[in-house]
């Protein structure tokens, strides 16, 4: 079992006001399994992923009945232990390479740094490893990208570089937080396919966070649908068409289609009862 989370709650406190952003989320992820967490903006999917890496700001209070990564209790780890985990055991890909890569450091240096943090070796070895990783993410002209700054390459190349950086220490879990939402539609599928392939060949687990239900169902084994900090429904990706929960159905129902053009799309009607059902 790679990830095992039971009753995760994340609360933010601001000026005495408490706001629970994640209320009792539970899921499991086996090794070599791919799980997608899907939900609207603000549903709590991103901070769930960040909580798993303990990357939330200090004012976030995280509690859980169980929060295990590869059998390690995340919440009780020291910061030093967490640093070995971050990057080393679990890579984390962010949304937009324009902001998630450091603008004043070369791509090569940023990847080499990730490698050096978790491997012993010379700078030369780190640089060779970086070049090798850039080849693995099938970037055009890896030698050139190695010495380029983030603003000198395209968004798609930047996301490939980001993936290379997070694969550098050879982690067993890859968390991708909306890895394609900042990219052109034509590049999105390419990047997802690349992540899919790399996860397969490296025997990694994948936690893919997205708001695109049908898209992720092509790449993942399981899909968890999140709404207002709770998981509405978890189902096998192939069973998406038979979704039982009205929220999932509603999300699927308001998608436009190219093959058979539809008139006005229905508006999703939200039922406050969805949240109460979960609370019981």
């Amino acid at each position: 079992m790679l990830v095992d989370i039971e009753n995760l709650r994340i609360t933010f406190e601001n000026n005495g006001k408490r706001f629970e952003a994640v209320s009792g989320v539970s899921f499991k992820l086996e090794a070599r399994q791919k799980l997608a967490i899907v939900g609207e903006s603000g549903s709590g999917k991103s901070i769930t992923a960040r909580a798993l890496m303990r990357l939330l700001p200090a004012q976030a209070q995280v509690t859980a009945d169980r929060m295990l990564f590869d059998g390690i209790d995340i919440l009780s780890q020291s910061e030093r232990e967490m640093r070995k985990l971050r990057g080393g055991r679990a890579g984390f890909i962010l949304q937009d390479p324009k902001y998630s890569l450091n603008p004043v450091k070369t791509i090569g240096n940023q990847i080499a740094e990730a490698w050096l943090t978790h491997n012993k070796g010379s700078k030369k070895e780190a640089r060779d490893a970086a070049l090798n990783l850039l080849e693995q993410v099938m970037i055009r002209d890896p030698q050139l990208v190695l010495n380029a700054y983030p603003h000198e390459i395209s968004g798609g190349m930047g996301q490939r570089a980001m993936i290379a950086m997070m694969l550098a220490p050879n982690p067993s879990l890859l968390i991708a937080d909306e890895p394609t939402s900042a990219l052109d539609a034509s590049v999105q599928a390419e990047i997802l396919r690349l992540i899919d392939e790399l996860v397969d060949t490296r025997d990694m687990g994948l936690l893919l966070i997205s708001h695109d239900l049908p898209l992720v169902s092509n790449f993942c084994d399981k899909v968890s649908v999140m709404y207002m900090g709770q998981i509405m429904e978890e189902l096998a990706a192939k069973d998406l068409a038979q979704a039982a929960h009205p929220y999932t159905k509603g999300l699927l129902n308001c998608l436009p289609s190219l093959d058979e053009p539809r008139g006005d799309l229905p508006v999703l009607t939200r039922d406050p009862q969805w949240l109460e059902e979960q609370a019981q």
């Binding site: 962010l94 949304q95 998630s100 450091n102 004043v104 740094e113 997070m166």
Partner: protein, 337 residues
């Protein structure tokens, strides 16, 4: 590369235009000031024909454009005219007084940077903590109390009260004029002459004015560093750096700081320029024989050549430091072409 050369040429061009504008303004100041250079030269009681002859000889009857031309061609040859007060060429007066200001301002900037930048970083990293609060209070005090109040208080406490530092001036009486002037910087000259007594005397005299200017500048540098760092630490790339497993310190110094270094260069350059120019008040309080004191003394006495010459030099220093900041920008920030 070609693009870099081009944009650099454009910067140099704008510097030249600025310097030209500066020379026109200083020239105009010299003409519109209600001080008659002829009377200053020949005295109040000179007969009218002597005044007229002197006026013609000084070229003041020529059209303004001709006067500007002769002024600028003299300036370009390093001739700023003579000071009526000191009877020396203005340029040699400046060469004499400027090192005193330079020595004080440079030391102050050095101390302010070495203290201010780390303080700003710590303050930003530990935002809201007690350390942050203390640093901020110290900075607000340094920034809001006028520098002459600090200087007078400093003299009152450390000179009058505790007798820890010597009084005003740059040198003790016994060392005055004993060290041969090579660079004009007393610390350097006394070391070159091997005169340790004069060196420590210079250190003692520098201590209080330098510390006061350093405190004043540090307050600004700390505040700016803190603001820049807070902004950089909010960046998404900080999350990715942490997600790589880097320690807190490598994230701060390896990822956040390089992003603010470029902005800091501008702040430091402007602070330095401000110190070189704005030490006027401090120099007055400490009777420091620097450029600021030379300028104010000349101004009070209607001695226009030094006023115009000094203003021009200070302006050129400002432009020069801006150019330096611009060059450093290009070196340190890959995004600036």
């Amino acid at each position: 590369m070609n693009r870099k050369v081009k944009s650099f040429a454009a910067t140099l061009g704008s510097v030249l235009v600025t310097l030209f504008g500066l020379s026109v303004i200083t020239f105009m100041i010299g003409r519109v000031m209600p001080v008659d250079p002829v009377l200053a030269a020949v005295g109040d009681n000179a007969p009218a024909d002597v005044v007229a002859a002197a006026r013609a000889e000084m070229g003041l009857d020529d059209p303004l454009i001709v006067q500007y031309w002769s002024y600028i061609s003299n300036v370009l040859q390093g001739d700023f005219g003579r000071s009526v007060l000191t009877r020396n060429p203005v340029i040699s007066d400046i060469a004499h007084y400027f090192p005193a200001t330079l020595e004080m301002a440079t030391l102050a900037l050095l101390i302010a940077t070495l203290l201010g930048v780390p303080a700003g970083i710590i303050s930003a990293v530990k935002q809201g903590s007690l350390t942050d609060q203390i640093i901020r209070v110290v900075c607000i005090a340094g920034h809001s109390v006028p520098v002459f109040v600090l200087a007078l208080l400093g003299l009152l406490i450390f000179y009058v009260g505790l007798d820890l530092v010597p009084g005003p001036g740059r040198q003790g009486v016994i060392y005055d004029g004993m060290v041969p002037s090579v660079t004009g910087l007393l610390l350097v000259d006394s070391l070159l002459a091997g005169d340790m007594g004069a060196f420590w005397d210079a250190v003692h005299h520098l201590t209080l004015p330098v510390l006061i200017l350093a405190y004043f500048s540090m307050a600004y540098i700390t505040r700016m560093t803190r603001a820049f760092m807070l902004d950089a630490l909010k960046g998404e790339f900080i999350i990715s750096a942490r997600a790589k497993g880097l320690s807190g310190w490598s994230v701060v110094m390896g990822h956040a700081f390089p992003n603010v270094a470029v902005q800091l260069i501008t702040v430091l350059a402007l602070t330095y320029a401000g110190l070189l120019e704005g030490a006027v008040i401090t120099e007055t309080v400490f009777a420091w024989p620097g450029l600021g004191q030379y300028l104010t003394t000349a101004l009070m006495n209607g001695d226009m050549n030094p006023v115009v010459g000094t203003t021009l030099i200070i302006g050129a220093v400002y432009v020069g430091l801006n150019l330096l900041a611009d060059i450093l920008y290009r070196v340190f920030d890959p995004r600036v072409a």
